[in-house]
Amino acid sequence: MTHQMKNLMDADLSEAECMLVDVYRQLARTVEMHSDELPPFAKRNALKAMAALWQVMNGLDMDPGQVYHLGA
C-alpha cells in the first residue's frame, strides 16, 4: 500500500513515516474506544507504546496534542 501524507510544516512524509503515523492513530483509537475491554497487561502496555509513538508523532510534526485523558 502506498500513500502520501504531509506534516503540519507541509513536508512530505516517507512511506515508513506514514506507516508509523497510521500505527499511532490506530493505537490511540483503540486505547480511547476499547481500553475498558482490555485486560490490565494489554491496556497498560498499549498506553506505554502509545506514549513512545506520541514522540514519533511529535518529531514528525503531526501535532499529537495531549493524551493525559487517555492515561498517557
Binding site: Q55, G59, G71
Partner: protein
C-alpha cells in the same frame, strides 16, 4: 540509509524560517492548552490579552507575562504540594521529582505523565546522539538516582538509543571508577566536578583513565562543562572528549547540548523550546552576542506548562551557522555563563565564581578549591581562595603567587588572598558543587551595604 549524525535530521537542519514557523504553531497550541487547563495561567494570559487565536508571529510571545521562580513557589504555598500551574490530574502522573535544593530554597516540585517521560528522554537523545553516542556504547551514569531529576532522563535516553546502560547509583567513588574500567564503559556521565573527582580517585587507585575505554564524557549540572580550562583538564585526565549539556527540573530535561564538532557552545533544541535572551533589568530582548538572562518557553511537558520562565541563567546567543555541524539551531556560546544570583560584590568589584574557576583550572596541579568571603575587622569585605595542590612535584608557593596575580589582573586589581589548604581538607561533591562560602556579616560597598542576621 546511512546513519544520520542528527537525531531528528528534518528538524535539526531545517531552514530558520521553518523553525520559527514551527515555534509559532507550537506556541499557539501551548497557550491554548494552558488557557484551557490551568486557571492560574488562564488569568495571567487573559489579563495580558493573550489567547491562542491572537498568536500569529513569534513577536506575539512578548505579550505573554514573564514567569518567575517566586511565582512558582507562591503557587506551591497556595495549593500544596504541587502548586497552581498543574494542567492534568495527579492520578495520570507516573513520577514525582524536585529541585536539588542546593540553594537552600524550598524545592520546586514537579509531576510528569507517561508521554512526558518519553519526551524528557527524547531531549537527552538529541544531545547524546549529537555528541556521537551510539547503540554500541556502554554508558556509565555516575549519579545518585533519587527525587532529584538530574540524569534520570539521560538514563532512559541511553536505553532508547540502545546503549548498554550502567546505573552507577549508591556506589562510592572508587567503586564507580573500578566499574567504569572493569565494564569497559565507553561513555561516562556526571557533573564536571565529579568527573574530576573520579579522575583524582583513579590516580589514587593507580588507574590511568586516559588508557581506559572511555571515549566520551557527558557533562551536566554545572556551568563548568563549558569553561574551556575545566573542560580541557577533564578531557586530559580522561583522555576522552567532554560534551556539555544543561537542563532544569522546571523543564524536566535538557534544553541545550554540545554537538560532536564542539563549537565552544551548546545548541538550543529549538523545535521543542523558545529561548529568549533578555536584559535582566529592563526585560528587553538582546541581540546575538550580548550577555543576558535566559527566558524559556517549553513545548514538551504538558503537565506543567512553562511559558516565558525567567531562569536567572546568564547566556550569550550566537547563530547556529557559527558551528560547522550543519544544525540550524542557535548556540549559547560558552554554555550557561553563570547565574544572575551568583554574582558577588566584593569591595565594589563584581566577582563571578565561574570566572574564578576558569582561572584556577588553568593550573592543573590544583585538585580542589574553595572561594571564601568573610568580613575582616567587622567592616571590610575580604575574598580568599583556598586551593589544594596535591602534586608533590609542583611548586605550590609559585602557583599561589601566580594565581593571586592572575585573579587580581582579571578583577580590576581586587586582592585575593590565595592560600594552600591541606590535601583532602576541602569538600568534595558528587552533584552540583558548592565551592563558594560567603560568611560575610557586612556585604557590598558603602552605598549597597547590608547586614546579614
Amino acid at each position: 540509509m546511512d546513519e544520520s549524525p542528527y537525531w531528528n535530521p528534518r528538524h535539526e537542519t531545517m531552514p530558520r524560517e521553518g523553525t520559527l514557523a514551527l515555534q509559532v504553531r507550537k506556541l499557539r497550541n501551548l497557550v491554548e492548552w494552558a488557557d484551557a487547563q490551568v486557571p492560574w495561567q488562564a488569568k495571567r494570559l487573559r489579563n495580558a490579552g493573550v489567547t491562542a487565536d491572537s498568536i500569529h508571529a513569534l513577536d506575539d510571545l512578548r505579550r505573554i507575562p514573564l514567569m518567575t521562580r517566586d511565582e512558582w513557589m507562591e503557587g506551591q504555598l497556595e495549593d500544596p504540594p504541587y502548586g497552581t500551574n498543574v494542567a492534568a490530574p495527579k492520578d495520570v502522573a507516573i513520577r514525582y521529582h524536585m529541585t536539588s535544593g542546593t540553594t537552600g530554597k524550598t524545592p520546586i516540585r514537579v509531576l510528569d505523565g507517561m508521554k512526558d517521560w518519553e519526551w524528557i528522554a527524547e531531549m537527552w537523545c538529541y544531545g547524546l546522539w549529537g555528541f556521537g553516542v551510539r547503540p554500541v556504547d556502554t554508558v556509565f551514569v555516575a549519579f545518585g538516582y533519587s527525587t532529584f531529576i538530574g540524569f534520570w532522563g539521560l538514563h532512559y535516553a541511553c536505553e532508547k538509543i540502545g546503549c548498554l546502560t550502567l546505573p552507577g547509583g549508591a556506589l562510592t567513588t572508587d567503586q564507580r571508577v573500578k566499574q567504569i574500567v572493569d565494564m569497559g564503559a565507553t561513555v561516562v556521565c556526571s557533573t564536571p566536578t565529579y568527573a574530576l573527582r573520579m579522575a583524582q580517585e583513579a590516580k589514587t587507585l593507580g588507574i590511568d583513565l586516559a588508557r581506559s575505554s572511555v571515549q566520551r564524557l557527558i557533562l551536566s549540572g554545572e556551568p563548568a562543562g563549558s569553561i574551556p580550562a575545566t573542560k580541557k583538564l577533564i578531557e586530559s585526565e580522561w583522555g576522552a572528549k567532554a560534551g556539555d549539556t544543561a537542563g532544569m527540573t522546571e523543564l524536566g530535561t535538557i534544553m541545550i547540548f554540545e554537538c560532536a564538532k564542539q563549537p565552544g557552545g551548546t545548541h538550543i533544541i529549538e523545535d521543542n523550546y523558545i529561548e529568549e535572551v533578555l536584559d535582566p533589568d529592563s526585560g528587553e530582548p538582546l541581540p546575538y552576542g550580548e550577555m543576558g538572562e535566559r527566558v524559556v518557553t517549553s513545548f514538551g511537558r504538558g503537565f506543567i506548562p512553562v511559558l516565558r520562565y525567567r531562569t536567572r541563567d546568564f547566556v550569550v546567543k550566537v547563530p547556529g551557522s557559527t558551528c560547522t555541524c550543519g544544525r540550524t539551531w542557535d548556540i549559547y556560546d560558552g554554555g550557561i555563563r553563570g547565574r544572575v544570583d551568583d554574582m558577588k560584590l566584593v569591595r565594589g568589584t563584581n566577582v563571578y565564581p565561574r570566572a574564578v574557576e576558569a582561572i584556577i583550572r588553568e593550573h592543573p596541579e590544583i585538585d580542589e578549591f574553595q572561594i571564601h568571603l568573610y568580613t575582616a575587622e567587622g567592616r571590610r569585605d575580604e575574598i580568599e581562595v583556598l586551593v589544594e595542590v596535591s602534586d608533590a612535584k609542583a611548586d605550590a608557593a609559585e602557583i599561589l603567587v601566580a594565581l593571586g596575580r592572575e585573579l587580581a589582573d582579571t578583577h580590576e586589581g581586587l586582592r585575593f588572598g590565595v592560600k594552600q589548604a591541606e590535601a583532602g581538607s576541602l569538600p568534595r561533591f558528587e552533584l552540583k558543587a558548592k565551592r563558594l562560602l560567603d560568611e560575610r556579616i557586612v556585604i557590598g560597598t558603602e552605598g549597597e551595604r547590608r547586614t546579614q542576621a
